[in-house]
Every structure is written in structure tokens, then in C-alpha cells.
């Protein structure tokens, strides 16, 4: 993975002035979480916020593996799903036994569900890193997802396990029936988990995980066992994924085998990687974007997953640091005051790049709707997928857009190099 420094080291570097800004960012985030549902109070946006909150916890937990420890997992949804099932069973048990456990504590049991599985299977899985770990995680993920359909008494077969969150003991008079209350519950756990996971990156374990990611042999030389470090990181990731699963179980009041499956694992990988793994806030950006796209695109197009695939491939090829990496690239330029020299070439590049994107969208939609014949609506212009005019327009946009865009991208690269050289001379860029 990228060896870019994590934001943690930067915060540590500028101590006094930085701490105010550091806490400011967190407080701002918390304030935003509290205020958001007051501004966007419709049922639809509350549901979206809740889903995004869950996705953020899940993506952050995934980044403990991918970004912090360098473990690429294709089966992270196993912990998420088992957390969800654990939470559902716990909620049902609380109701049937009349235990005095209110709903806000349930995600903890979800976390334990994810943790227990990580503790059991993790020792074997984390023996090796890299490609082998990726393959094994894929196999284990498939194993658990397929087993969930066989063990009906635990996983409820195809239909899953249902529960009723309002039947639990009330806390502070909240019944958690309305979505708003569930949103605040998710927001509370989001803040709690985010702080805990951020704190984890600052502990010696977090730092040595980074070292294991970058150079396991050297870690071994200084007396740590990379296997143990990976195992511990895996357990923490499993716990927080379980918390996310528990939140999902509370939100949907159901847990089924889809929670455990490859699609869920793929989505969290997409979110984390698109957002950027090298910075703590990367997965947060990624989770927001991917969940938002997922909710928004499903209404617009039948092939939204293809757009995901294309965005993902684009990020892997052109910006492996993700969106966070792209944003943070500009920091030294802003400090050195040379960003303004780059912006004109950005503005020039926007036009052909957007044209290229429109061409690709038009091509995809033409093929997707060719047999159905539904018209394509792009910026208010209706295109008929069966008419040759549409194909020609799409081809012109793709080919023309690509060649012009490539020229403008080169311009950006040149302007960027000049700006970076100045920034380096002024001492803002290593």
C-alpha cells in the first residue's frame, strides 16, 4: 500500500497550535452530526444519514486492516454480518428474558459477535500477509456466507432473523421507534467508534501496525512478532465491523445472509479505497460518497454497479491515494501559496473531462437500454438508445473528449510540477 505518512504523524508534529485545530475538527464533525437532521429533516434524508453513518463505522474498521496494517481483506463483511446476527439474537434475548439492557448498548454485543469470530479464525488467517491473506479472507468469507444458509437455527435461512428494537427497555424515555432517534443512536456510536479507532492509531499498537505494513522484516528485527500485531489489528477491525453490523441490525430490524456476503465485502473495500487509505478521514469520505452514489444511482440507472467498477478502476490507476490523497496533495501548495498557478489548468481540463464522462455514460446507457428502448435523459436532453444519432454522439464525446482531455491533463501535470518545485524551494514539500 502507499507509504504516505498518516495524518497522525503530522498532528503530532505541530503540537500547540495544532491541538486546537485538531479538537476543532472533531467538535465540528460532532456539531454537524447533531445539526444535520435539523436541516434535512425529511424521512428520506434521515434514512440516508443513518446508512452513511453505519457505512462510515464499517469503512473505518476496514481501514484498520487495509490502511493501517496493510492487510487486504475480501471477507470483512463476515464480522459485520456476524455482528448483525449477534445484535439481533441479543435483542430478542433481552426481550424474551426481560433483561434490563436498553437499545444503545446493543451495538456493543454486535461488536463482540464480530470480535469472537476474529479471535477464533484470525490466528490462522493472519499468519501470512499480502496476496495469501487476501485469498484466505475471500475463502473464509465464502465459507461463512455459505454456512449461514445451512445453519438455519442460527441464521434463519434465506429470510434471516427479525427483531423489534422498540420492545427493548426504554432509555431516557426514548423508544427508538422513530428514525430520528435511531439516527442519533447511530451518530452516537459513530462518534464513539471513530474516536476509539482514531485513538487506536496513536497507540504503540497502531504505530507498530504501520511498521508491519511497511516493513515486516524490520519489525521482526526490533523484537515484535508481525503475526501477533496483524492478529491484534484483525481483532480490533473485527470488533468495530461488528459494531457497524449491530447498528445495521438496529436500523433495519433484521439480519440476513446478505450481510455476510461478497457484495457487502466488496462495497466496504470500494468505500475505503475510493476514499483513501492513507489518511484517517479517507474512509469517511469514501463511505459517504459510495453510500450516496449507491442510493442516488439506483434510482437513475439499472447498472450503477458498473459505474462503481469504473470509478474504482480509475482511482486504482490514476490516484491510488484515493480522494483523501488527492485532497491532501494540495496542502503543501496551499501553504506555499502556489495553488493559484494550478487552478487555471484545472478549469481548462474540466470541459473535455466532463465531455468524456458524458460520452462514457451515454455509451453505457445506450447499451444497457438498447433492448428496452427507454430514452436516456442526460442534462435534460433526451437520447433515443436505438437511434444512430445517439451512438455517433457517444462515440464523438468519448473519442474527442479523450484526446482533448489527455492534452489538458498533461497541462495540469506541467503546472503541478512547476507549483510543486516552488513549494519545495519554499520548504513546504519534502
Amino acid at each position: 500500500m502507499t507509504t504516505a505518512p498518516t495524518s497522525t504523524s503530522k498532528v503530532a508534529a505541530d503540537a500547540s497550535g495544532g491541538s486546537l485545530r485538531f479538537y476543532g475538527v472533531w467538535l465540528l464533525g460532532i456539531a454537524a452530526l447533531i445539526v444535520l437532521p435539523m436541516i434535512f429533516s425529511s424521512g428520506g434524508s434521515l434514512t440516508s444519514f443513518s446508512l452513511i453513518g453505519i457505512a462510515i463505522v464499517f469503512a473505518l474498521s476496514y481501514n484498520i486492516l487495509l490502511g493501517q496494517t496493510g492487510l487486504l481483506s475480501f471477507g470483512h463483511a463476515v464480522h459485520y454480518g456476524l455482528g448483525g446476527f449477534a445484535a439481533c439474537h441479543m435483542m430478542n434475548a433481552v426481550v424474551s428474558h426481560g433483561w434490563p439492557i436498553p437499545l444503545p448498548f446493543i451495538p456493543l454485543f454486535g461488536g463482540l459477535g464480530g470480535l469472537v469470530f476474529a479471535v477464533i479464525i484470525g490466528w490462522v488467517m493472519t499468519k501470512r500477509a499480502g496476496t495469501v491473506f487476501a485469498m484466505i479472507s475471500l475463502g473464509i468469507g465464502e465459507l461463512v456466507a455459505s454456512s449461514s444458509l445451512i445453519l438455519r437455527s442460527v441464521f434463519g435461512g434465506e429470510s434471516g432473523i427479525t427483531t423489534d428494537r422498540t420492545a427493548l427497555p426504554k432509555m431516557l424515555g426514548w423508544s427508538f421507534g422513530p428514525q430520528l432517534q435511531v439516527y442519533y443512536l447511530i451518530a452516537f456510536w459513530l462518534v464513539l467508534s471513530a474516536i476509539a479507532m482514531y485513538a487506536l492509531t496513536r497507540t504503540p499498537l497502531g504505530r507498530i501496525s504501520n511498521a508491519v505494513r511497511d516493513n515486516p522484516e524490520r519489525v521482526q528485527f526490533i523484537g515484535y512478532d508481525p503475526h501477533v500485531v496483524r492478529y491484534l489489528a484483525f481483532c480490533f477491525a473485527g470488533f468495530f465491523a461488528g459494531v457497524a453490523g449491530g447498528l445495521a441490525a438496529i436500523n433495519f430490524e433484521i439480519a440476513n445472509s446478505a450481510y455476510l456476503g461478497a457484495i457487502q465485502s466488496g462495497l466496504v473495500l470500494f468505500s475505503t479505497f475510493i476514499g483513501g487509505t492513507a489518511y484517517f478521514f479517507g474512509p469517511i469520505l469514501g463511505a459517504i460518497l459510495v453510500t450516496y452514489l449507491q442510493l442516488g444511482l439506483t434510482n437513475l440507472t439499472g447498472v450503477w454497479q458498473l459505474y462503481f467498477g469504473i470509478i474504482f478502476i480509475g482511482i486504482v490507476m490514476f490516484s491510488p491515494g484515493g480522494i483523501a490523497g488527492l485532497l491532501m496533495m494540495h496542502r503543501p501548495l496551499i501553504r506555499a501559496g502556489t495553488l493559484w498557478t494550478v487552478i487555471p489548468s484545472y478549469l481548462v481540463a474540466i470541459v473535455p473531462t466532463v465531455a468524456l464522462a458524458c460520452g462514457v455514460i451515454l455509451t453505457i446507457e445506450t447499451v444497457a437500454r438498447f433492448s428496452g428502448g427507454d430514452p436516456i435523459n442526460l442534462f435534460g436532453i433526451a437520447f433515443n438508445p436505438t437511434s444512430p444519432v445517439t451512438w455517433i454522439a457517444a462515440a464523438v464525446l468519448v473519442v474527442g473528449g479523450f484526446f482533448v482531455a489527455r492534452l489538458t491533463w498533461r497541462r495540469i501535470a506541467d503546472a503541478w510540477d512547476r507549483a510543486a518545485t516552488v513549494a519545495r524551494d519554499r520548504g513546504y514539500l519534502a
Binding site: V132, M135, L143, S153, G309, V316
Partner: protein, 315 residues
Amino acid sequence: MLELVVISTLNGVLFGMLLFLLSSGLTVIFSMMGVLNFAHASFYMLGAFFGFQLTKWIGFWPALVLAPLLVGAIGMAVERYGLRNTHKHGHVAELLLTFGLAFAIEEIVSMIWGKSPLDYRVPALLDFPAFTIFSTNYPAYKIFMLAVSVVIFVALLVVLKRTRVGLIVQAALTHPHMVGHLGHNVGRVFMAVFGVGSALAGLAGVIAGPALVTQSDMAASLGPILFVVIVFGGLGSLPGAFIASLVIGLVQTFAVALDGSLASAFGPLDPSAGPSVLTDIWNVTIAQVAPIVPYLLLVIILIVRPMGLMGTRES
């Protein structure tokens, strides 16, 4: 019983050889470039769909040649324009690129051909029972599949172990710079190997398409088993992949054919005897467990022999 054993063995070997056809390409690519091609099963799927489409247009036999070539060309393009540029970001980025590609290919295929299974038929020339054992007709097409797999297997081994091309390929694995100094274009060797690996997957798709189901989720259902095969056999080991393919092919075929459960062997469990999970495990039939058998094998081999059957390298 004997009938079951013979038929299952035949089918198991057939499935195993098919798995080997796929895992051989994957293994060669992995040992060359160190990158696990997540899209390998997608190339297999592309082979099946191209095979179907070309069969419709120009007949099965030309399709058998043309479809793998097309898939191979796509593979080469992926290597040239995708993987080679991603290489500087490390192996994980390369793996992720192929992961995104697998995702996109599945969507594109279901976009063009739809999500339901295609009517991809066995060619008329091979649509007859080859022989009859225990009153079961064994189709000639399956024998053909087996023959193709064996021929490819032997050809691959001969090319890799006995020819100059194999020598260069093997040397490029371990000493790319030296091979480059000797005047070979290592980049082109990599591209060719990736293309051949993809073409092998495509060929497997063309011949497996009519016998198995050709639909847009065939890559997603086969992909994970493929990775189990190469981890089980030992990453980068061709003989290991061969043994693992046969083992997994046979085990899974037999598991599907067997209807026994613990309950049928030892009698049903008293429902009050323990937790209901136990009853679940007790009553599940071997056929129901068949889909998870490869993954169970994976877990067992990881505990017993983490480097796989024939693997040598610890990564």
C-alpha cells in the same frame, strides 16, 4: 453404488481438469508477475459468452478458436494499459485493479446478454452418447472436454519445461533484468504470458459453456473456488495446482452425489438433546454441504500446511 462411484469419478476428473485449465493460467500469471488476477474467472466467463455469440454467427468450431483469441487480446490489453501502469503502486494496487475489472466485466456481460442463463448448446457433431455404463449414457461432449483439457495440460507442460520459449519465460520470472540484458523484451514477455493465461481461461469458458450454465454470475461463483485451488495447491506451483484441481473436483462432485447425513448414519437426534444448532449440523446432508467443502479444505490446509500442498515460498 459402483455406478455412482464411476460416474462421479468421471465427472469429478472432468471438473478437476476444467479447474486446472483455469488455475494453470492463473498460476503462470501469478508466478510471473506476482499479481493474482482477480479477473481470471471473468475471462473464463467472457470466453463462454463470446463462444455463445460466435457459435450463433459462425458456428462452434471457428468459435472454439476465435473466442479464446479474443479473450487473450483483451487480457493483453489489460496488461499493457492497466497492470503495467499500476505496477509502480505495488501488488495490492494491481490486485485491486483486477478486482474492479472483475466487477465491471460482470456488469457489462449482464448488461449485454442479460442476467438469465443463455441457450448455449453442445454442437451437433458431439451431441451423442459416447458410451453407456450402468444404463447411464455418458455424453460425447464431456469426453471432448476432457480431451481438450488433457491436451492443453500436456502442451503447457511441454512448452514450459522443454522449449526455448519456456526457458525465457521461466528466466523472466526470477531474473527479469538478466533476461532483458540478453536482448529479450521482458515487458512483451509479460504481456504475452498474461494474454496466453487469459486465452486459456477463455478456452475453458468456450468448452465449459454448453456443459455448465452460461450466465452472468458464473465468474462470481467459480472465482473463489479457483483461488482455493491455487492456495490449496501452493501459490505458484503448477503441479500443486494440478493435484488441488483434481482433489477439489473429485471431492465436490462426490459430495454433491451423496445424500447421507449424520442423522441418516446414526439415527435422528433427540430434539431435546441439545441446542438446535446441533440438530442443524446433525441433519444437514453431504450434498447440502458440497458448496462449502472447498473452503473447509482451505481452512484445514491452512492449519496443517500453510504453504499449500506443493508450495515452497512463504510470502
